[in-house]
């Protein structure tokens, strides 16, 4: 599985917002995208995840494992998305959050076992029935990543997912996330302000310019 983006130009009206040279991210590789606010980082993520507002015009194609996903609706792309906030659904338990993205083919006891196994692997065994609001910041971050991985994504987009964690926690969650991406062989695009993130990712760094 690899993520490929052809020469990309996104414009709003006749104002160019973003130009990105062709880019290929190999399985398990983390490419970091940096740039000042307004450089089009969130526009790029919206384009890749399929939620770009209709007012924008994008030229360029996105390929996932050889399939052109440019025109697929967001829920068919299987591109995992992690934000600054964990965005665990507050009305669901931890287990229900994890089951939300798990493919419907797996049923009953097997389904519950898959969720329990994921929790155990993340050192969260027994957390299934818990209210997400009662978890610590680090636990919530891990559950959010597990939820994304259980949906069997073909790539990961990380939108400054570590910036709200305190410094002590940040390193651990970062390592946990990158390790998971490598283990699953997921191409990974990390958008961040923090040079330490880029350093920890250890891969290529792309600087988006202004305009």
């Amino acid at each position: 599985m690899s993520l490929r983006i052809d020469d990309l130009v996104i414009t709003l009206g006749d104002r160019p917002l973003l130009a990105l040279p062709a880019l290929a991210v190999a399985p398990g590789e983390v490419v970091t995208v940096m740039g000042p606010s307004g450089a089009g980082k969130s526009t790029l993520l919206a384009f890749l995840s399929g939620t770009l507002d209709a007012a924008f015009r994008a030229r360029g194609r996105v390929w996932l494992a050889g399939e052109d996903v440019t025109n697929l609706p967001p829920h068919r792309r299987r591109i995992g998305l992690l934000f600054q906030d964990d965005l665990l659904f507050p009305h669901l338990s931890v287990a229900e959050n994890l089951a939300f993205g798990l493919a419907p083919g797996l049923r009953g006891a097997a389904r519950r076992a898959r969720v329990a196994q994921a929790l155990a692997e993340a050192e969260l065994a027994g957390f299934g029935p818990r209210d997400p609001a009662t978890l610590s910041g680090g636990q919530r971050a891990r559950v959010a990543l597990l939820r994304t991985l259980l949906a069997a994504p073909r790539a990961l987009l990380l939108d400054e997912p570590f910036s709200k964690l305190d410094v002590a926690l940040r390193g651990r969650v970062r390592d946990f996330t990158f390790a998971a991406a490598r283990r699953e062989g997921l191409p990974c695009l990390l958008v961040t302000h923090d040079p330490a993130d880029a350093e920890a990712a250890g891969g290529r760094v792309l600087e988006l310019g202004r305009g």
Partner: protein
């Protein structure tokens, strides 16, 4: 989904356009069904020749403007003196039951309070008044319309207060006052100088709706207003209801006159706004720090407390009368309590109660469906102004013509017609109470769900609706309460074949047994309260193990 705003617009514009045209044409003599097949000014001549018309118009303008002005000043005064204090929140919670109570029930309760044989007179007799028989006073129904104004204020204050609190939540009110204090300004005058101009734009439409409602209200005027001459709206309704169908022509002319009065009053209000704003600017420019506003500090909360007490005492009076055994004047309480009236009326009351519930549930569900589809489509922002129209026009001005159109469609007196007509008034309030929470929902929840593979329907049902369950149920309760309280729309679209607790209660208020009236009005008040209680209890129970879902 995309069609929802347009479908709603059609559902709205149809009745409004047909209704206005169907009122305007007869006002100028054209109604072929009744032999009027040419345009003429005869209806207007008949209207102008009606005895007491000038007094009716003066009474209408006087009571409508007075009620709006008094309610607004009370609300602004209260907000100014309680800004930033815990009292603002407490007032909001205390006023919620009044907000849910239909106008008619509140007005009947108020009548039970202030009538010569009402609770107030009983409490003060005979030790203070010397009355051992109810005095012969024209209350309610005093010729100056004072009881009518008070009855309207009772209901409009909680509504405007809610709107003011909502607006205050969106502007930096406390920061403005801190900045003013640092410049040596006292808080209350500074509130009027700095905060009021920020929230007024959001209050303008609700104020205009209150003004239009107060000028054209029928049920409250029937219960608390004077009888000879009555307000213009009541006069027009009498003619519409007369056996002599020829009176429909002057009635239509009267409805158009009422429309003119409402539009004129709104225009005058806008001009008044400008004058007040100009004076306010000069006041601000003088740099006066203003006084301590001691009088306002004492008066506004006291007046509000009094209003609240009167509303709740009125509701208690409804229940007390419906359960009263023998109750001689001037005893403060009945000699005994009995369920006799409830038992005797249970068969009679069940039909209207069922119809009330059915119409309210159906119109609320229809409104919720349309509003959700509308919000989800993200389109139709400009169409929002349209849904305010039924609240800004006098109901009489289009309901008569709409009834004529319903007759022609063969729909008059059907459940569908009543639900459709209720929708015109239910949907605006549902949209109003749901639009802000919907817009405030973090869009990243939906994006996260989509990235996890959930399609648009699943995102809508399993994520958005569940996250917004609380405001959704509140909006449903608001819509339900609005529907339960509607009088004229039920009367016209129901064509006498569908009667609700509201139409029955207003009819009974004309002089039936006070015990029976108390039972109808109490039940009418109870239904919306139950809906509100359910809307509060259900999410609290469902989310008892979910801290993140608590307000």
């Amino acid at each position: 989904m995309r069609a929802a705003p347009w479908l709603t617009a059609t559902l709205f514009l149809g009745p409004l356009a047909a209704g206005l045209a169907g009122t305007l044409l007869p006002a100028f003599g054209y109604l072929p069904a009744l032999g009027g097949d040419s345009l003429s000014l005869d209806p207007w001549r008949a209207l102008l020749a009606a005895p007491g018309l000038a007094r009716s118009v003066m009474l209408t303008l006087g009571s409508g403007l007075a009620a709006t002005l008094v309610a607004l000043l009370l609300v602004l005064g209260f907000c100014a003196v309680t800004q930033g204090s815990a009292w603002a929140r407490r007032a909001q919670a205390a006023l919620a039951p009044v907000l849910a109570t239909p106008h008619a029930a509140l007005a009947i309760g108020f009548a039970f309070l202030v009538a010569p044989s009402g609770w107030l007179a009983r409490l003060a007799s005979p030790w203070a008044t010397g009355w051992d028989r109810p005095p012969d006073l024209p209350i309610p129904g005093d010729p100056w319309g004072l009881a009518l104004v008070l009855g309207l204020v009772l209901k409009e204050v909680p509504y405007l207060l809610l709107m003011a609190f909502a607006a205050l939540g969106q502007v930096p009110a406390s920061a403005s006052l801190r900045a003013a204090a640092a410049l040596g300004h006292r808080p209350v005058p500074a509130w009027f100088k700095l905060v009021l101009p920020q929230i007024y734009p959001q209050l303008r439409l609700p104020i205009c709706a209150v003004l239009a409602f107060s000028l054209s209200v029928v049920d409250v005027a029937l219960i608390l207003g004077p009888g000879t001459p009555p307000t213009l709206a009541v006069l027009v309704l009498r003619w519409f209801g007369d056996r002599d169908l020829a009176l429909w022509f002057p009635a239509a002319a009267g409805a158009v006159l009422l429309l003119g009065l409402v539009l004129g009053a709104i225009l005058a209000w806008r001009l008044g706004e400008r004058a007040v704003a100009a004076l306010g600017r000069r006041w601000i420019a003088t740099g006066h720090r203003g006084g301590q506003a001691l009088l306002l500090r004492a008066l506004a909360p006291a007046a509000l407390g009094l209003l609240l007490a009167a509303s709740l005492a009125g509701l208690a009076a409804l229940i007390a009368w419906s359960l009263a055994g023998p109750w001689r004047f001037p005893e403060a309480l009945p000699a005994g309590w009995t369920l006799r009236v409830w038992r005797a009326q249970s068969a009679e009351i069940a039909g209207p109660a069922r119809a009330t519930l059915l119409v309210a549930v159906l119109s609320t569900l229809a409104a919720l469906g349309l509003v959700l589809a509308w919000l989800e489509s993200g389109a139709g922002r400009r169409l929002r102004a349209l849904v305010w129209l039924p609240l800004l026009l006098p109901q009489l001005a289009f309901l008569f013509g709409w009834q004529v159109a319903l007759v022609r469609l063969g729909l008059d007196g059907t459940l569908a017609a009543v639900v459709w007509t209720h929708l015109l008034f239910v949907l605006p309030y549902v949209l109003l109470s749901l639009a802000d929470p919907w817009a405030a929902l973090d869009p990243r929840y939906a994006r996260s769900a989509a990235a996890l593979g959930a399609g648009p329907w699943r995102v809508f049902w399993a994520v958005k609706l569940r996250l917004l369950l609380r405001p959704l149920l509140v909006a449903a309760a608001v819509g339900f309460a609005v529907s339960v309280g509607l009088y004229l729309p039920t009367l016209f679209a129901g064509a006498g074949r569908i009667t609700t607790l509201t139409t029955e209660a207003v009819t009974l208020a004309a002089g039936a047994d006070r015990r029976v009236l108390g039972a109808y009005a109490a039940l009418q008040a109870a239904l919306p309260l139950l809906a509100y209680a359910l809307a509060a209890a259900l999410p609290a129970w469902l989310h008892r193990h979910r801290q993140g879902m608590r307000p």
